[in-house]
């Protein structure tokens, strides 16, 4: 949750704004896990945190969100993020990456790819062995923050938003333990959008 959750919750704050309250079921399928990465492959470690979490997020703007995070699934047929509105649905690519294919359906329910706009942080600049051509612009948040420091504005990756995201994740774990909704103590604003021109202005 605390490892992958920030990508998803950060993007939800970008799309929908802050969260009011959280409830969750939190379990683990395994009492131990075997390390697969260096430097200690094969080491058996105890599972001390829930590895299978189904959370309900109640947003201040009225959006209702189902967030499921699990290490205990061998395969699934879910899209990373799906947004359902009254007039249509949006299918959002993996928020661990900058680019990817958006899909959308209108009232006819027919799902079609959305052509990507020309955005500097959507252009593939790496060839990844697992994912193929990839847009990777990590440091964009640092560049935006430096510009914010120099010009005296809010940084898009400011602490108020990441701290709110941490509270959402901790609230899901707490609710999983107690069975009760957890009302959050922090809030934040949506980050300002970063359109193609604003993104280009951050580049060398």
């Amino acid at each position: 949750m605390l490892d992958m959750g920030p990508y998803y919750i950060g993007n939800l704050i970008n799309f929908l704004g802050p969260v009011r309250r959280v409830a969750a079921l939190a379990t683990s399928a395994h009492a131990t896990r075997t390390v697969t990465s260096q430097p200690n492959p094969g080491q058996v470690i105890p599972v001390n945190t829930p590895t299978n979490i189904h959370a309900l997020l109640d947003f201040h703007n009225g959006a209702t969100v189902n967030l499921s995070v699990s290490w205990d699934v061998q395969a699934h047929k879910r899209v990373n993020m799906e947004l359902y509105g009254t007039e249509g649905s949006l299918f959002v690519p993996d928020p661990n990456f900058f680019g990817g294919q958006i899909e959308m359906a209108g009232k006819d329910g027919k799902i079609t790819p959305v052509p990507a706009w020309d955005h500097p942080f959507g252009r593939a600049n790496q060839d990844n062995p697992h994912h193929g051509p990839l847009a990777n612009y990590r440091c964009a948040g640092v560049a935006d923050m430096v510009d914010a420091i120099v010009t005296g504005r809010d940084a898009r990756c400011a602490l108020d938003r990441s701290l709110h995201a941490v509270e959402v994740m901790l609230a899901a774990l707490q609710s999983g333990a107690t069975g009760a909704f957890v009302t959050l103590t922090t809030t934040c604003t949506r980050p300002a959008p970063l359109g193609p021109d604003a993104a280009a202005a951050l580049m060398a």
């Binding site: 189904h54 499921s68 995070v69 879910r78 799906e82 009254t86 928020p95 612009y137 560049a143 193609p196």
Partner: protein, 171 residues
């Protein structure tokens, strides 16, 4: 445009991403790297032609205005706090802290010191996610920012019941 001198603390795998991509952006100049393991810092510094320093020396380095904290999550708060106390701006890898008490203390200290703290992830700034943001704000799925929406949302990796049953029965 002002150039910000950057110091990176934590020379593990992800540091190559930051060191490699920083030159794409305006106003970022990595000047020093540090790690608990000085050999790791020296190796990374040689690879990217920057200075290797101890954590203490990097935090005292007047040429470093912003610290990128790439330590392990358990060390994020302690390192970020020391950097803020030294008057540096901080950008942390995620999660920025592991407890609300730490987060509130860091926020209060940053305010008192007049420095900014930020955190990864920044992937929501990517072309795809900003395009979705624009589409939502344009109301293409029936909702505009500020209007009470009826949106429900699903995110990755839901455990399906039959998988859950299989795993529990096997153990």
């Amino acid at each position: 445009m002002t150039t910000m001198g950057i110091g990176i603390i934590g020379c593990g795998n992800i540091s190559t991403t930051y060191l490699g991509l920083a030159p794409l952006f305006k106003g970022l100049q990595v000047r020093a790297v540090a790690d608990m393991n000085m050999d790791a810092a020296r190796a990374r510094a040689a690879e990217y032609k920057v200075q290797a320093q101890t954590v203490d020396d990097l935090l005292a380095n007047p040429d470093v205005g912003l610290v990128i904290n790439l330590t392990i999550p358990e060390a994020h708060y302690a390192i970020s706090r020391r950097a803020v106390a030294a008057g540096k701006h901080v950008y942390s890898e995620k999660p920025v802290v592991l407890s609300m008490a730490d987060g509130v203390a860091l926020r209060d200290l940053a305010r008192a010191k007049g420095v900014m703290v930020g955190s990864a992830p920044d992937t929501f700034l990517g072309g795809a996610h900003q395009q979705v943001r624009q589409m939502i704000d344009d109301g293409v799925i029936g909702w505009k920012a500020g209007i009470r929406p009826r949106i429900s949302f699903s995110s990755r990796v839901a455990a399906r019941c039959w998988i859950w049953g299989r795993i529990t029965s096997a153990t």
